[in-house]
Each structure stands twice: as C-alpha cells, then as structure tokens.
Symmetry: none
Subunit: 215 residues, 4 copies
C-alpha cells in the first residue's frame, strides 16, 4: 500500500526530510491548519517543492503523523525492554510521547486518514499493542489502578500534548505538560480512594466510533 517508491535522489531526499522537520515544528507552533507556505519557507524550499514531495496537505499531515507514530512505537519498545517494571516503563513512555508531540497532528489524523492506511495502522497497532501489555502487567503487578484502560492513557496523552492556548512560550509549555503528567501519574497509581466513573474505552472502541460516522 505504500511501497513501490524508488529511492529518491540524495538532494531530493534532503528536501523531503527538511520539509518534514519543518512541518513538525510549524504544526506544533501554529496548529495543524498552518499555511503550507510557512512550512516550505522554514524548510528553505519553494512551495512547489513541498507539493512535489507531498501531493496535498493530507499527505503531509499523514507523513508527520506516521513519523510520530513510528517514533512512539520505538519508544514504547525501548521502555519495555529497558525498564525494570511495567509501571516504570509506562511512565517513561508517557514522558517520551510528550516530547514527540504527536498531539499536534492527532486530531487531523483521526479525522482524515483512511481506516485502511496500512503503514499508519501498523505503526499504531504495534505501539498500542505494547502499551496495552504494559498496562495489563502494571495492573497485575499492583502498581497501576485497575480501573483505568489503555484508552485512558492514550487520551490523557492527547490532552497533554496539545499546546496550552495563550501566550505561553514554547519551552515553558513543554515543562508544564511534563509537570501535569507527573500529577496525572500520581493519580494513576494503585491504591487510590475513589472508583472512576465514566466510560472505560479502548482504542478499538474509538476506532469503531469513527467507522460509524457517516461524515
């Protein structure tokens, strides 16, 4: 579904990479609706070059998202492999996700990428799969409260990944996100007094909701 591309010439490859990096930055700063010309300018190329690499906004968004999902998957793997307990791995993973900032494109991702996009699905499912295991294990270990789902973990990360509105400088904003994540992590620990109300959703629930929408 996403193969068959012959390798790009070296300079073209460079351009593609620079555009992707610029897009990541600009999306984080201005949101996923930022003017594409801003992106090409930051990448130091003409707008037409951007369009040669990415046929339209959706393709660019998808590429940024795919990249982020792959990094996310790599991070969760590494966390699982490196850390002594599932809970510690989960904590490390969550902080890394904030750094990757997939939240910047997540809304568009959910709304516009076709369900059967293989590369995307693969990266996401691999990442989610491992995260799901970490959640289960941490609950078995008695470290993570039993009434949260891996869907909660994902959604909380989305909430934290979006930049705070307002005139908060970028660096400070990132520090705040990590601070608030720490706070949430303390709420995730086992032994909390109250039971959680509200719906306990999984990623599969979210996916099937999307498929129901006729929009």
């Amino acid at each position: 579904m996403a193969t068959k591309e012959r390798p790009l010439r070296a300079d073209a490859r460079d351009n593609r990479d620079r555009i992707l990096a610029a897009a990541r930055e600009v999306f984080v700063e201005q949101g996923p609706g930022a003017p594409l010309e801003d992106i090409s300018r930051r990448a130091g190329t003409g707008i037409a070059t951007l369009y040669r690499r990415f046929p339209d906004r959706k393709a660019l968004t998808r590429a940024v998202a795919l990249d982020a999902l792959q990094r996310t998957r790599d991070e969760v793997k590494r966390a699982r492999d490196d850390e002594p307990t599932a809970f510690v791995a989960l904590v490390r993973y969550m902080h890394r996700v904030l750094d990757i900032r997939i939240g910047a494109v997540f809304p568009v991702l959910l709304e516009e990428i076709p369900f059967d996009d293989e590369e995307i699905s693969t990266a996401r499912d691999e990442g989610v799969g491992i995260m799901k295991e970490l959640v289960a294990t941490a609950q078995e270990d008695g470290d993570l409260r039993p009434d949260v789902t891996h869907g909660d973990v994902g959604m909380l990360l989305v909430r934290l990944s979006r930049p705070m509105p307002g005139p908060i400088p970028r660096e400070l904003g990132e520090e705040l996100a990590h601070r608030h994540l720490d706070l949430i992590i303390d709420g995730l620990r086992a032994g909390r007094p109250g039971d959680l109300g509200g719906p306990a959703l999984t990623f599969d629930d979210l996916r099937s909701m999307r498929d129901d929408q006729p929009t």
Copy 2:
C-alpha cells in the same frame, strides 16, 4: 462599566442569547477561529444579525468569555458556601467548570481582550480569588498536596475542557472529561509519593506573560 445599553427588544434579546449559546458550542467544537457563519447558522439567524449584536469577532469572543467567567465565579462561590471542606468544594467546582466547558477558549480570549477591560477583570479576579483560597485552605487542611498551585488547577481544567478530537459523540466526550478529572483529582490528593517537577505557575504569572508579549 456596562456601557449604557438600553434593554433590547424581546426578539432581539432572544437572538442575542441564541447566538451566544451557539458561539459557545461552536468555539468549543471548532476552536475560537471557527467561521462566524457556522455560529449564526446554528443560532438560526443570518450572519448580519450576528454582526448587529456583536460588531466583530472580538466582541463576540469577549461576550462568550465574560459569560463563562461569570458562571465560573458563581459556581466557585456556591461551592465554597455549600460544601463542608475546601477540598470537596474544589472538587465540586472543577466538575462544574467542565460542564460550563468553555475553559478551552478563554485563555485565547484573554489574549485578544484589552488588559483593562473591567467587566472581564472583575469576573475573573473574583473567581480566581476564591479558588485560590480554596486551594490554600485545602492544603492547610492536609487534603490537597502542597506542591500544586491554583494555576495548575486552572490549566488542568483547560486541558480537560477541550473536546477530544475525532468522532466521539458529545455526551460521551463529556463523560470522558469527568472521568479523567476524577483521575486527576486522585493525583491532587495529599500524600502522593513523587514530588512535582516543572514550573509552579500562578494566574499572575500567566497574566504577566501576556503583558510581555509584543504582539
């Protein structure tokens, strides 16, 4: 300061209220840059009617913000007066704010509203003032962890107020927000293991950031 408006005709009043309600909803769903025509359509009026009531986007934005701030202030007062402990009052207040649910936009609004707008300042300062007291008292009572600030409380509410991206039905989205708030509240309780990193900001810090911006 409410500049000498004579009472509107009944039908005009109705329209104004409907437009305000529609704006609240649409801003939450689409962000504060949403097309004004979407708002007027949802209110069931023509676009020019919206403009007759609110001379430009800023005026409408301000009205939505003011309304939300006033409701918020009323809720925090009621919570303080009705509930047995400061912590319980704080919890109730946070859930109510999610229902008012407009938190997501108001930091953005504050950027666009002149610093010396009296009605806005009054409503905000009253609300924040009481919330600050609740935070302090709950910490003295030993119910709230000592390393969170009232700024954290406000910002967490902002994060929770934005609807999750994707095709999640509105009602479910609200239930999720309350669920995640419960989780966060458990993280706010005293006696948590880890210390919070990151900057401990107050509302005054946020305000002074705004004043520093050259924009």
Copy 3:
C-alpha cells in the same frame, strides 16, 4: 409625472424635510455613496422612516438633486433680474451655484436619473435656458470671450463643486472653490490671447451622449 401625492401629515412633512437636509449635508461630506443609516441618524429618525419617505437610494438622490436644480434655477433667474449686465449676472450665478453644491450629487444625477423625469428636466432646462441667454448676451456685449459655450460654464462649475480630496476642512474647501472660480472667470473674459482648442459642447450634446450609451 410627479403629482398626485396627497399632502403629508405635518410631522411626516417635518421628517421628510429633515431627512432631505441631512442627506444634502452627508452627501457633501461623504460623497453620494454615503451609508443611508448615517443620513437617518443625522436626521434623528430611524432608517425605516427614511425608506418610507424615499423608496430607495435613487429616490433620495433624485430629491436632493431636484432641490438643488430648483434652487439653481431660482438663482439664475434672480441674477438675471437683479444685475446690470449679463456678465455680472453670470458671475454672481456661478458663485451661487458653488454654494448650492449641486456637484455633490451631480455624478449620480447624470448617470441614474431617467431622461424623461419631468420635474428634473423642467427645473434643469429652465435653469440652463436662462444661463444660455446670459452667455449669449454677455458675448454680444463683448464681455465674455466668444469661444466658450454654456456647456463649458456648466462643466467648470461641476469641476469646482466637487470637494477637493484630502484632509481639507470643509469651510476652507469652499473658500478655495470660490477663489478658483475667480481665477476661471478672469479666463472667461473677452480679449484673451489664445483661442480655445478642444470640443465646444452644449448641454444638448451631453444629453444625447447619454442616450447613446447602452449602459
């Protein structure tokens, strides 16, 4: 063509007059495209009252123009009757026309009022007719150079009647118009060295041009 109106009630008559006066002022200040709401506000009535008296902008413009044309005709009559020579009468008439400021609506008048508007035609033709006589007589008297036409006189008045663009205060602008008229009058006197080039047009020429335009 413009009779048959039964006399208005006294207060309605008042409103009509106030609106007409306001329109004259506003057209002079803002040009003939000024917002009608500005006019009704200056007249101290609601916009709907204006529309009750004048079904649309054209009707209002026409009324202002008719009023100005009638005053103009009256002025030229009075000048002819009062002054000792045709040239002196012509000079007086020209200065009076500047005060009446018909130029403010003249463009619209020429472009939008139907050719067969009787009241308009009558007032204009009476005024032009007398002016034509004055021109002829002044030329016979040897006071006015023989190569100008009454069309030139009319067109020069139009040029002088339009307000100078830019930030010139209204009063000063009027004084300047009279000053420049004095200068032009000196150019109109008999005994000038050069012959005039260019087309020597009459009002009838202008009228027939209009009728040719398909626009």
Copy 4:
C-alpha cells in the same frame, strides 16, 4: 530606500505593470475606493495575482501614487530644461500632468501613506520644488499673475484631472480637460483685472493640514 527587491521574473514584471496601469485607469474612473477585482479584471489577471504583487489596497495605492509623482517630476524637469520661459514651461507642464491624469487620486493617497515614506516624499518634493521655481520665475518675468500660488496650480490640476461624470467617452473627456485648462491658463496670465479672494495656500499648508488630522 527601495527595499531590496530582487528583479521579478519577466512575466511577473509584465503582470505588475499591467496591474499598475489598470489601477491608474480604474482609480481615475471610479475613485480610489474602486473594487480591486475590477482592477485585476482589467489587467487580465486573477485577484490573487494582484494581491501577490501588492499586499493590500494601501500598497497598490501607494505604487500608483509613486508612479504618478515620478512621472510628474520628470515632466516638470523636462519642461524647465526645454522651454524658453518659465511661463511656457509651466503651461507645458500642466498639460502633461493632465495626460498623466492621475492627479485626482493622489491627494487622497497622501492621506493614507505614512508621512515619512521616503520614496514618495522625494519624488513629490522634487517635483513641487521645481514647479515652485517656475511659478516664482514666471511671476518675476511678469507673465504670471502675482496673486496665485503654486498650491493653486496644483489644486487646479487636481480639479481638471478628474473625469467629468456621465457617459462622456474617455477621449472626449481628455480633450475637454485640456480645453478647460487653456481657459484657466488665460486666467492665470498677468494683467488680469480682479484680485483673487480666498486663501492662498501652498503645498506645505496642505501637508500640515494632513498632519493635524486626528484621523
């Protein structure tokens, strides 16, 4: 001061020139508030092309004004250098300005252009300076009446530059303007009977009026 523009591509240069020419024409015909879409249509381009060359209405207006001022300055220089007497040079200059024919808009433009725009100031001051000399010399020579100012000359040109309202074909309109200019020139000659009333303004007076406006 010409902000570092690299030379445009040939086709873009063509478009720019065509848009500028179209703007000149349309502004003269419809006034400086004419729809920009009319201008782009007359230039044979899309509206966005106009906006690519001129970021907003002000920039276009400024470019038209600058172009006219530069041509005017060139004409007055050439007239001064070529003609035997100052008066003859002045006469030639005035006729040339009518051909440039943009006088009608530039006072309005000057309102909208920052006082310290160097290119504009330079072109204008050079042109006005030479014209001022011509006026003074012609008066010393006894050819020009002593009671007119160079401000009068400029303002009369503005009045003549605007097209007559109504359906007068463009060519005829230009011939009329030259005819009326001849008439005015005869009024400007020395030895005229009447003294001029009204305010004798200079360009500096007009400029200071602009600076006084609180608008």
